[in-house]
């Protein structure tokens, strides 16, 4: 970027600054697009899960729905409720935005494609996402609405307590790869499924599970969407928000979804790793990365439209009584496992393949169950008419 600007005949200092701004703008644009497209994806997918179509009018298959929503929200009247803390109320959405936005810096999109390969990448990631909770808490407090306050409080309690198991769970991949750098973690995995962090040992599976559940909670997705539980707290911390500021909340929530998916991909699913012979092709690497991220995002959306919501005490119980001991178990178990199989790479590989096969068996069972369900749903009412069947 800087080289192009320098080529245009600018001074070096100006080029540096301009380049940084341009880069940030490009990332922001990407951020907005991802967040927007994901809202459309979620609405369409939830539609299909509920036997309906979802938004399909604006653009091809309703793809431009998110633009319509965005434009509408931007041009909507801007309200700050009476009695609200005006400064905090206005600031809160941007804290959320920054918390999510800054994580993009350390995400490796493929091997070698990264904005800043910090050597404390994962640590940076975990700490910067904590900004979100500040934003949520600010929004809840400043709205001068009791529902918002309750939502903010719930969010704070929830995110803080789920950060602990998530952090502990992430220790397992760090243990294996021996680095905090995102590129390093990605590089420590291969392109084959059994080279992925997820299948390396039973403890990595456990750690993946803890991390996944914890991220769901941190991203406020069902079954952990208590801060904005629609049927309880009306709309939680963003009850009083409208127009552009609500759009920012909206956007950061869905972008967060992408970030969670991307992090899962990088840490557990091999990231954009490619087989040795084509490892130089960064486009393919990017594609692989996006495909895997897409799958994880799909899984999250799928879970969101399947499960009911926890209650606040159950949520805490899950974190402190189930996930935390499991995280410790995973950490120590993995350490022990690595000690035992220190010199036995074949055993490690066999274990990985075994876990992968178990996963495949589960998948098979699942597909069988799905086909039974499809058959049930199609009984009589959805069956073709006799006249049609004959043709």
């Amino acid at each position: 970027m800087e080289s192009i600007l320098l080529g245009l005949g600018l001074e070096e200092a100006t080029a540096q600054i301009l380049g940084a701004i341009l880069k940030a703008l490009i990332v922001l644009l990407f951020f907005v697009t991802v967040g927007g497209v994901l809202t459309w994806v979620e609405r369409r997918l939830s539609g299909f899960m509920q036997s309906r179509l979802g938004p399909n009018r604006v653009g091809p298959q309703g793809f431009l729905q998110w633009i319509a929503d965005g434009v509408k929200l931007v041009f909507k009247e801007d309200l700050v409720p009476d009695g609200a803390d005006r400064v905090l109320f206005r600031l809160a959405p941007y804290f959320c935005l920054i918390g999510v936005f800054c994580t993009l810096v350390v995400l490796p999109w493929g091997s070698g494609i990264i904005i800043a390969d910090l050597n404390v990448g994962l640590f940076y990631f975990i700490s910067i996402t904590s900004l979100v909770v500040i934003g949520v808490l600010m929004a809840g407090w400043s709205s001068n609405n009791k529902w918002s306050l309750l939502g903010g409080m719930r969010a704070a309690a929830q995110i803080v307590s789920y950060e602990i198991p998530v952090g502990l769970g992430l220790l397992v991949p760090i243990l294996i790869s021996g680095t905090l750098s995102m590129q390093g973690i990605m590089a420590s995995q291969g392109w084959l499924p059994w080279d992925w962090m997820l299948f390396k040992s039973p403890f990595t599976v456990l750690s993946f599970f803890i991390f996944f559940v914890g991220s769901l909670a941190e991203a406020n997705r069902i079954p952990f969407d208590l801060p904005e539980a629609e049927s309880e707290l009306v709309s939680g911390y963003c009850t009083e928000y409208t127009g552009f500021r609500y759009a920012v909340f909206f956007l950061s929530e869905w972008a967060n979804l992408f970030v969670v998916g991307a992090l899962t991909t990088v840490v557990y699913l091999g990231g954009g790793n490619l087989p040795g012979m084509i490892s130089g092709l960064w486009v393919v690497s990017l594609l692989v990365f996006f495909l895997k991220t897409g799958l994880v995002v799909f899984l999250i959306i799928w879970i969101r439209w399947t499960l009911p919501r926890f209650r606040i005490d159950q949520l805490m119980k899950l974190s402190w009584k189930y996930l935390l001991p499991a995280a410790f178990l995973a950490f120590f178990g993995q350490a022990l496992w690595m000690l035992l199989t220190w010199k036995l790479p074949l055993v490690q590989l066999a274990m990985a393949v075994l876990i992968f096969l178990t996963f495949l068996v589960l998948l098979y069972l699942f597909i069988k169950r799905v086909s039974v369900n499809i058959k049930e749903q199609k009984t009589s009412v959805n069956s073709p008419l006799p006249a049609e069947a004959g043709k």
């Binding site: 499960l307 699942f366 749903q377 009589s380």
Partner: protein
Amino acid sequence: MGGYFKNIKNGFQSVFEGLSVTMASMLVRPVTVQYPETDISSNETIQRSYKSTLMGMPENYRGVLGVNLETCTSCGLCVKACPIECIVIDTVKCDKTKLTDNSGNTVLNRFTQKEALKTRASTRFDINIGKCMFCGLCVIACPTRAIQHTNIFEMNRHNLDDLVIAFVPEEEKRAAMARGEEIEKEAAAKKAAKAKAAKEKQKEEKTDD
């Protein structure tokens, strides 16, 4: 402690089951009938395009009320049957045959068809669709099946006054009114004549005395 692991097992199992059901419905064709494109009043189109036994609107759908003034006798039974006063009928007496408009054409030829039933002509037959509750009591009450539910349901209006349907056209109303007045005049004249005759008779009787 047993409960602890049982909870974990049940949790996983229910998530597994739940996900399989939602995945199944994702793979089954949606049941949405795309309304403005699909004609929902016809069963056949829906069934053909959606390959299912989804039903469209039935023929006896209770939509907006419609009145066939040709068979209406202005008897007022529907007005009585309606519990909420959303039908109103004003009538004039009428001899049905000779109603003409300004140019001399017969406008109310419907009266000639059922002469025996017609003793009144309606000058106003309004239904307030903005108040109607689509219960069908007036339809059940109607002896000549003149008032019927139609299949119309899309009667959006920007103004509440537009939701009042007037079934008697303005010119017909005027003609009927005029004719009604004429008849009334005639009747009054007849009455007067009769009274006069009676009086004269009385007088005659008196004079006879």
